[in-house]
Symmetry: C3
C-alpha cells in the first residue's frame, strides 16, 4: 500500500467513524436535555436529532446545499434516534457516564467544526465565513436544542466551547489559504480543538463577561 | 363523466378546500396563543401566519423549493390574516367553539402531513425523510409559534399530535413505495391521522415520559 | 455631471453608508441585550451579528438567494463585530447615548425595509410578499435576537416598529407597480418610515391589544 493509498484508506474509514461518533454524542446531549425537562419520547427523539444535526443543516441551508446532508444520508437519523432511545431508557446510567460522554462530545465538536469549514470552502465561501460556518456546524445543533427548550443557548454564556470550534475551523481555513495538505491540517485543527475543549472543562476556563 | 375525470374533479376542488381549512385552523391556534399572551394586533397576525405556514415553509427550505409555496400563493396569507383578525376581535367566541376548532385543526394536521410527504417525495427525498418532512409540515408551524412565545413546543411533550402526522405521512410514503394509487392512499392516510388525533384528544392518550 | 450621473453617484455613496449605519445600530441593540443578560463576550458578538444580519439572512433564505449577502460581504460582519466589541467594553456609555442609538436604529429600520423590499421584487416575489419580506428584513434580526434570549420578540407586542417598516416596504412596492422612478420612491418610503418611527417613540404610539 503506497502512502497515498494509506491516507485515502484512513480517510475512508476514519471520517465516517468520527462523524457518527460526533452525531451520537450530540444526540445524547439533546436527549438528556429533553429527559430532564420531562419531554415525552417523541420530544426526546426530536431533541436528539436536532442537537446532532441542526448545526450541519443550518450550514447547508446557508450555503445553499439543499437538501441538507443530514436529510439525504439516513445514517445520521438512525444514529441519533438510537442515541435518543438509549438515553430515554437508561438515562440514569448515561448521566453517570459523564466523562466518556464529554469526551465523545469534544470529538464531535472537533470533527464537526473541521468538516463544516471544509464544506463551506468547497462551496466557495470566503475564508472568514468558512471559519464561522465551521464553528456554526459545531455549535448550531446545541443552540437549536436550547432554543427548543426555551433557554438561552448555553454556548452564549459559558466556557470555551465555541472558541474551540472556531480554532479548529480557523486552522482548516488557514491551511487551505497556505495550500497545505488537507488531511494533516484537518487532524491538527481537530486535535487542537479537542485538547482546548478538554482543558477548558478541567480548568473551568471561560470567556469574560462585561463588567 | 368518466371515473378518472371524477377523481380529478374531486382533487381539484377538495384539495384546496382542505388545504385552506387547515391553514385557517392552524392560524386560529396561533392567533389564540398570541391573544392569550397579550400580543398586539401585529403580533397576533404574525403568530397566525407563522402557525399556519411555517410547517410548509420549513419543509420547502429544507428541500430547496424556494421561494416557499406559502410566499408565492397569496391565498395562504389572506386566509391566515382573516383567521387572525377574526380571533383578535372575537376571541371569547372562538374559545367557546373549542370542539369545531379542534376538528378543523385535526383536518389541517391530516392534510398537511399528507401533502407534505407527497411534496417531499416529488422532490426526490428518500422515503424515511419524506415521512419526517410530512410530519414536519404538520407540526412545524405550531413549534415555531411556541418558540416565538418563548415556550417549549407543546408537541414535544403532550399527546399523540406528532404521531398522528407521522402515521399519515408513513401511509402516503408506503403507498408510493408499493406503487399504490395516490389519491386513495392519501385519503386513507389522512383519515387515519384524523381519527387517531380525535381519539387521542377524547381518551387523553399520550406518549410515555422517561422515568 | 448630468442629473443621472449625480443620482448614480448619490446611490453609490449613500446606499452603503446607510446600510452600514443600520447594521451598526442593529448590532448595538443585539450587543446591549446580550450584555444585560450576562452573556460572555462570544455570546455578545453572536447577538450583535444576529441582530444586524438575520433579517437579511432570513429574507435571502426565503427567496433562495444563497449564500446570503451577509455571508458573502465581510463588511457586515466587521461592522457588527466592531459594534459588539464597543458595546462590550463601553456599554454604560452606550446606554447613556440612548437618543443617537435610537436615531441610528430608525435609520437602519428604514433602510433595511426599503432594501429588503427591492431585493424581493428583484427576485420576482409578488407585491404582497415583497412588502412582507421588506418588513421581515427590518424586524427579523431583532426577533431572532429575542428568541436567542428566550424572550417573546419585543416587536410582537410593542409600539409601531413593524408598522413603520411595513409602510416603507409598501411605498417601495407601490412605486414599483406604478412604474415610478426607483430612487425617489425609496427615499420617500425610507423617510416616512423613519419619521413614523421617531414620532411613535416620542408619543408612545402603539397598536391595540385584544380586550
Amino acid at each position: 500500500m503506497t502512502e497515498l493509498e494509506a491516507t485515502v484508506e484512513i480517510q475512508r474509514v476514519l471520517v465516517p467513524v468520527l462523524d457518527l461518533c460526533g452525531t451520537f454524542a450530540f444526540a445524547i446531549s439533546g436527549a438528556l436535555a429533553g429527559v430532564r425537562r420531562r419531554l415525552d419520547v417523541f420530544g426526546v427523539l426530536v431533541l436528539s436529532f436536532v442537537a446532532s444535526s441542526f448545526g450541519g443543516i443550518g450550514r447547508d441551508l446557508l450555503i445553499g446545499a439543499t437538501p441538507p446532508a443530514a436529510l439525504v444520508d439516513w445514517r445520521y437519523l438512525a444514529v441519533s434516534l438510537a442515541a435518543g432511545l438509549i438515553t430515554f431508557f437508561w438515562w440514569p446510567l448515561i448521566e453517570r457516564l459523564q466523562t466518556p460522554v464529554r469526551l465523545l462530545d469534544a470529538i464531535g465538536l472537533a470533527f464537526f467544526a473541521v468538516a463544516g469549514a471544509e464544506k463551506a470552502l468547497a462551496f466557495g465561501l470566503n475564508p472568514v465565513m468558512a471559519v464561522l460556518l465551521g464553528m456554526l456546524t459545531g455549535v448550531g445543533g446545541g443552540m437549536v436544542r436550547d432554543i427548543l427548550l426555551a433557554e438561552i443557548p448555553g454556548v452564549l454564556r459559558s466556557d470555551l466551547y465555541a472558541v474551540a470550534a472556531l480554532l479548529a475551523a480557523a486552522i482548516v481555513v488557514g491551511g487551505h489559504m497556505l495550500h497545505l495538505p488537507v488531511v494533516p491540517t484537518a487532524i491538527v485543527g481537530g486535535l487542537l480543538c479537542f485538547t482546548l475543549r478538554m482543558i477548558a472543562i478541567r480548568r473551568g476556563w471561560g470567556l469574560p463577561i462585561a463588567r
